[in-house]
Each structure stands twice: as C-alpha cells, then as structure tokens.
C-alpha cells in the first residue's frame, strides 16, 4: 500500500505574507500529496520538530521578509542537529540570485523565485521527496 508523500509548508519569522505558501500547498495537495501547513511566525526549531513528528519527506519554506540568509541556514543546522538530513529542504520567496546560490551551497536543495512555474516546483518535490521515501521506506 503506497502512502502519499508528506510535505511541510512553513512560514518563519516575522513574515505574514502567506499567499505564496498557500498556492504551493494547494498545488502539492492537487498533485496527491499530504501537505501539513504550520501557520505563520514559526521558529526554525518549531518547523523541524513538526517535520520529525509528522515523518515528513520534505520541508518547503516561504520567506518574503528578507530574512532568508538567517532563517534558511538555521533550519539546515536544526536538521543536522536532529540527525534528520534525509528530509528534503527547499524554499522560495523574493530571494536575489546570488543569495539563492549561496543558500544552495549551504545545503538548501532548491530555491524557487517569483515566476517559477508550479509544475516545476511540483515535479522537484515529487522527484526529491520520492527519493527520500525510497531510502527510508
């Protein structure tokens, strides 16, 4: 019996703009995934604890506040500290290309910026989270 992929969609820090997060959540839901939405103003620790308890295959973080260079690396660190690097970590928002490159170097698997087609995001999540699922069962 195959279980749908499970993905956390999170908003972190002082950032109340959740329209993008809701659109992504809906797109992943329509692609047959179980999407757990954390709500606004979460700390990195809250997001990673949620991913662990929910046995999520991936975490998608939306940031439109400009704090991406702080919050993305904190989640990477938290995942390491919890021994949960198998969980796919991706994100999106208003992130300049040079920052996106730096974040990828620091362990964020993908950064999607405004204008990225939903189909591209969905197939990334299906592919990468699918690989995690094969690995851990």
């Amino acid at each position: 019996m195959s279980r749908p992929l499970r993905v956390i969609i999170a908003k972190a820090g002082l950032d109340g703009h959740d329209r993008g997060a809701k659109v992504i959540a809906r797109a992943l839901r329509d692609a047959g995934m179980e999407v757990i939405y954390t709500g606004l103003f979460q700390t990195p620790e809250q997001i990673v604890q949620t991913a662990i308890q929910e046995d999520a295959d991936g975490i998608g973080l939306s940031i439109l506040s400009g704090a991406h260079m702080t919050l993305f690396p904190l989640i990477v660190e938290q995942l390491k500290a919890q021994g949960a690097q198998d969980i796919v970590f991706f994100g999106g928002g208003t992130i300049p290309p040079e920052d996106a490159d730096e974040l990828r170097r620091r362990g964020v698997q993908a950064i999607f910026t405004p204008g990225a087609p939903l189909s591209e995001i969905v197939s990334f999540v299906e592919h990468e989270c699918g690989k995690r699922r094969e690995l851990v069962g």
Binding site: R3, R29, V136
Partner: protein
C-alpha cells in the same frame, strides 16, 4: 535494508523513546506494515487515557485541543495528539491544517502531534488512527487526544475508539430540532458549547439541557460545559468533566467494556480493510454490463464463498453503546 531489519532498527529507535522512532512507526502502520511492530508493543498498551474530540468544521476542535494540551501539561502529563483532516477523493492529496492552532506546543518534548489524512475513510477518523493511538500508548504518553475531521451528523466512530467522547457544538448553527437528531448527539460523554461569548450560546445550552431532560440515562449522564477555547475559559471545567467520566468508567466497571470496544473497532477496521481491497478487485473483474445489480452482487459474493442472506436485519456495530435509554 530489508523490511525485517528495518523493522528491528525501528523498534530499537522506538524503545529508546526517540520521537523519530514513534513518527516512523506511525508511518509504518499507515502503509499497512505495522503488524510486526504492534505485535511487539501491544503488551505495553492500555495505560493511556484517550479523549475523543468531535464536532462540525470550524467549531474550534483544534483550539480546544490546544487548550486541553496546555491543561494536561500543567498537571505534568505527557500528551499525544492525533488530528485527522479529510483527503481529496479526487487527487488523494490533503491539506492538514490542525497544527496551526497547536503551535505553542511544537517544541515541548512532552507533546507529540501527528496529523493524519482520512485517506478515503468515512467514519470521521483515518484507517490507521487506532494504530497511531496504540503506538502513542506504548510509547508511554499519558493522555491521547484524538481530533476527528469536521463531522456532519453521523460520523460516530470516535465513540468506539476513545474512552471519553467530547462533542463540541457552536451557537447559531440551527434550531432546537438539530439537537434532537440522531447521530453524534447520542455519543457525547461531555457536551461542549464553544464560543460561549456568542449571543446565542445560552440558547444552545438551554436546547441541549431540555433535550437531555426528556431522556432517561443508564449510568453516566453527559455533562455540559461552556467554553471559550481561545481565551481558555471553561477549560478547567471541561477537564473536570473528563476526569469525572473516567472516574465513572473505572468505578462502574465500564472501562473494561470501553477497552473491548476500542479493540473490536480496530479488529473490524483491519478485517474490513482487507475485505474492501479484495472487493474492489472483484468489482473490477466481475461486474459486466447486461446483468442486473443483484445478480452481479451474487457473482461477486460467490468469490468470497458468501451466500447472499436475506437482509432485513440492520447492520450495527455491536459495541457502540449509548448511555441514553430513551424517553423518560
């Protein structure tokens, strides 16, 4: 790693009381691979207090859950929350949003929250909810809160699974006839009127009271509590009502029956799950056009070795008992 090795590794993680172990164990159960694990852990179950929380969408179930978790934590108890939301019948995907109301408990190591998608299950729970409850019980959590999907009128499965069932209602959602209808109104051990600051809250309270005054109860008489979950008002009273019910179950000896109910529920779910998968296969292969539906059903049943029975006997789960006897 093969399945047996993976299962053994998982059991070690679980026994080391790692939250990841519990999380992975629930996933195993959800994908139909929980048998070995539960066989190992079953002897350790039966210690948790299980509370079911049901009611229509938007009544405040998750907010009530969060307030109850806060209360239980203040008493030093560890808590598990299983929260069910519906799956799409079309894409099979789901948006699980109950956590939004529970954020204050995310980093409390004494609280474990799991969202579950109903995955086509219709009784208000998910197919693996009972497994998740057993696993949380074996993990040593003191209190387990089970929050159903937002229900309509007839999803009463929760009453089989939980020791104490709370039915939450909100003011302004129908006239006095609604409280007389069959279904979820009959399974409450505790009624909660949430959003008590609403102008019509007292009217709903009176309607429930007058419904209950007409009825004769054997043993437990449901308590009625007014709450405002967002501010925490009435939560102490709600907790006291739950404890009264648990004390009643223990004193009257009905706790043993409740446990048997939950056990039977789970066995029924497991058996039905297998039968349904087989049935779907048979339906695909045996149902052809050109015969009437009764003949087609006979043909499907033959492959189960079942002879169709004349059926005027109502199908009822044998163990769901309400304490309502009828009118006075």
């Amino acid at each position: 790693m093969n399945d047996t090795d993976a299962g053994a590794a998982l059991l070690r993680q679980f026994e080391a009381r790692s939250p990841r172990g519990l999380a992975r164990a629930i996933s195993y159960a959800e994908s139909g691979r929980g048998a070995q694990l539960i066989r190992h852990l079953f002897a350790r179950t039966g210690r948790s207090m299980t509370i079911g929380l049901t009611g229509p969408p938007g009544v405040g179930k998750s907010t009530l859950s969060s307030a109850l978790v806060r209360k239980a934590r203040s008493l030093g108890k560890t808590v598990g929350v299983v929260s069910v939301d519906p799956s799409s019948p079309f894409s099979h995907g789901a948006l699980l949003g109950d956590r939004i109301r529970l954020t204050e408990h995310f980093t409390d190591s004494g609280v474990f929250i799991r969202s579950m998608a109903s995955r086509g299950h219709l009784g208000g729970l998910a197919g693996a909810t009972a497994d998740a409850v057993l696993l949380m019980d074996a993990f040593g959590l003191d209190v387990i809160l089970i929050e159903t999907v937002g229900v309509g009128q007839s999803e009463i499965e929760i009453a089989e699974l939980a020791h104490t069932t709370i039915v939450a209602l909100q003011p302004g959602s129908g006239d006095s006839i609604q409280v007389l209808k069959a279904g979820i109104m009959e399974v409450a051990d505790v009624f909660v009127v949430n959003k008590k600051d609403h102008p019509m809250a007292n009217q709903l309270k009176r309607e429930i009271r007058s419904m209950m005054e007409m009825l004769d109860f054997s043993g437990w008489v449901p308590e009625l509590v007014m709450t405002q979950a967002t501010s925490g008002e009435g939560i102490d009273e709600l907790w006291a009502a739950i404890e009264n019910h648990v004390a009643y179950l223990q004193k009257s000896g009905e706790m043993a029956e409740k446990r048997l109910e939950a056990f039977t529920h789970q066995v029924r779910q497991l058996a039905l799950g297998h039968l349904q998968r087989k049935l779907e296969r048979e339906l695909r292969s045996k149902v052809a056009e050109g015969i009437d539906p009764y003949a087609a059903a006979d043909r499907v049943l033959q492959s189960f070795g079942v002879t169709p029975e004349g059926g005027d006997e109502p199908i009822r789960p044998p163990h769901v008992r309400a304490s309502v006897k009828g009118l006075m």
